[in-house]
């Protein structure tokens, strides 16, 4: 029902945690405009509700507005993940004409030094200029997205205030070991206590958006440290710039290639690919006794796969795996506990095997 489409490999930033960087060591090309329109036609026939465009930086594609317009013409709602540095008055006016285009501007901290350590020197000011421009135009469908890492987790409250000041929603994304993030995983990943604090914060701020397989949607479930079920291959999948199809944007390695729309119709790939079929059947048996199994099914396979080399492994960042519910629920008490312990170290192998 929704599709993530990395529309281009090109990007004007070099973020240290980019999920797409290092996935394509050599340029493999991009679908041209006709191919993009053909794919949109097929998505519309399949009654896809929403396409989430990312990249790379989508606005570097000269024909991206044509692609957006065509998706809307076919009745598909669009969301664009952008770094905001290429926005100008003319572009914002055009986006307002295509509306509703849900814009998600990536910013990785409430302070320049924090963001710039991740997204590059001087980017905080450039991104903020884009956000201010959108704010001046009264852009109605705006969210600011922060990938939560050890570097910026203490700035979430300030980040939320910054977003509200600009009439934007806050969206927090989970840091996952994909692309360039693999090499910095141990340095950036949240400690167990930081995850607990984040869970508590989300429980108190139900207005904050999160991605699926991150924290649950309701405050009660967030406080109970719940993850959401992975929608890969069930409710969503990812399209790479060259038309390759993968279960999700965090699993774009060759082992997870389901097919390519330049060789086979999207619908055929989505319905029949053995790779995607495997994901549809995925259930982590060791999680069955958990009271949230029906809504979680084991969490994020991408994180599990990177850390354990197994898709059938419980999400290593599920705190329920290392704490009893009795311990886990009163998170506000649990926050100031002892020294931070990286989650992977805290999971006894016999409990999660």
């Amino acid at each position: 029902m929704n599709v993530t489409w990395e529309i281009t490999e090109a990007c004007n930033l070099r973020c240290t945690h980019c999920l797409s960087a290092e996935l394509w060591t050599e340029r493999r090309g991009e679908l041209d405009l006709d191919q993009c329109r053909a794919l949109i036609d097929e998505l519309a026939r399949m009654e896809v509700f929403q396409v989430n465009f990312g990249g790379g930086e989508p606005f570097l594609r000269h024909d991206f507005l044509d692609i957006l317009r065509y998706a809307h013409y076919r009745g598909i709602t669009t969301c664009v993940s952008t770094n905001g540095t290429l926005l100008n008055d003319a572009l914002v006016d055009e986006l307002l004409r295509v509306a509703p285009v849900y814009l998600q501007v990536s910013l990785d901290g409430a302070r320049a030094e924090t963001n710039d350590a991740i997204r590059g020197r001087g980017t905080f000011a450039r991104i903020l200029a884009g956000i201010e421009l959108l704010s001046e135009h009264g852009y109605p469908d705006l969210s600011l997205n922060m990938v939560v890492t050890r570097l910026n987790v203490d700035e979430i409250a300030d980040f939320n205030r910054l977003a509200r000041r600009h009439g934007a929603k806050t969206r927090l994304s989970r840091f996952r070991p994909s692309g360039a993030a693999c090499s910095i995983w141990e340095d950036y990943r949240l400690t167990r206590d930081q995850l607990l604090a984040l869970s508590a914060f989300l429980g108190d701020h139900s207005e904050i958006l999160t991605g699926d397989s991150f924290f649950a949607l309701t405050p009660e479930s967030r406080r109970a440290l719940g993850l959401n079920m992975c929608g890969a291959a069930k409710m969503t999948c990812a399209v790479a710039p060259d038309g390759s199809i993968y279960p999700c944007a965090f699993l774009c390695a060759p082992a997870f290639l389901a097919g390519n729309v330049t060789h086979e119709p999207f619908e055929s790939i989505f319905r029949s690919s053995p790779v995607l079929e495997r994901f549809r059947e995925l259930e982590v048996d060791t999680c069955r006794s958990c009271d949230r199994f029906s809504v979680c099914h084991g969490g994020c396979p991408a994180v599990a796969c990177f850390l354990t080399e197994s898709l059938d492994h419980p999400d290593p960042e599920c705190l329920r795996a290392v704490m009893s519910v009795k311990e886990a629920v009163p998170v506000t008490e649990a926050m100031p506990v002892k020294e931070a312990v990286p989650v992977r170290e805290a999971i006894p192998a016999q409990e999660v095997a």
């Binding site: 029902m1 519309a44 009654e47 509700f49 929403q50 009745g75 709602t77 969301c79 509703p100 849900y102």
Partner: protein, 77 residues
């Protein structure tokens, strides 16, 4: 159906999508409701014939969808 709503058939019934909020609404309607075309003018949700005993439940379901702004009640003829 309002222009801003999309709906598709699923195994459990119908899945509604509000383009104004990107919110999904899962409706366990079984085979009692039939979705209109995905897009286009004058789309209408069709109510299939159901047993007398199920009518109150279907009626409540329709009222709930009206309350959520996912459908609008038809004008009296």
């Amino acid at each position: 159906m309002p222009d801003w709503v999309r709906v598709r058939r699923e195994s459990f019934g119908l899945l509604f999508y509000d383009t104004r909020s990107t919110r999904l609404t899962f409706v366990r309607s079984g085979d009692s409701l039939a979705p209109p075309p995905f897009t286009g003018p004058r789309r209408a949700l069709l109510v299939n014939p159901v047993d007398e005993g199920r009518r109150p439940a279907v009626s409540r379901l329709l009222q709930s969808l009206v309350a959520k702004g996912l459908i609008v009640a038809p004008e009296p003829q």
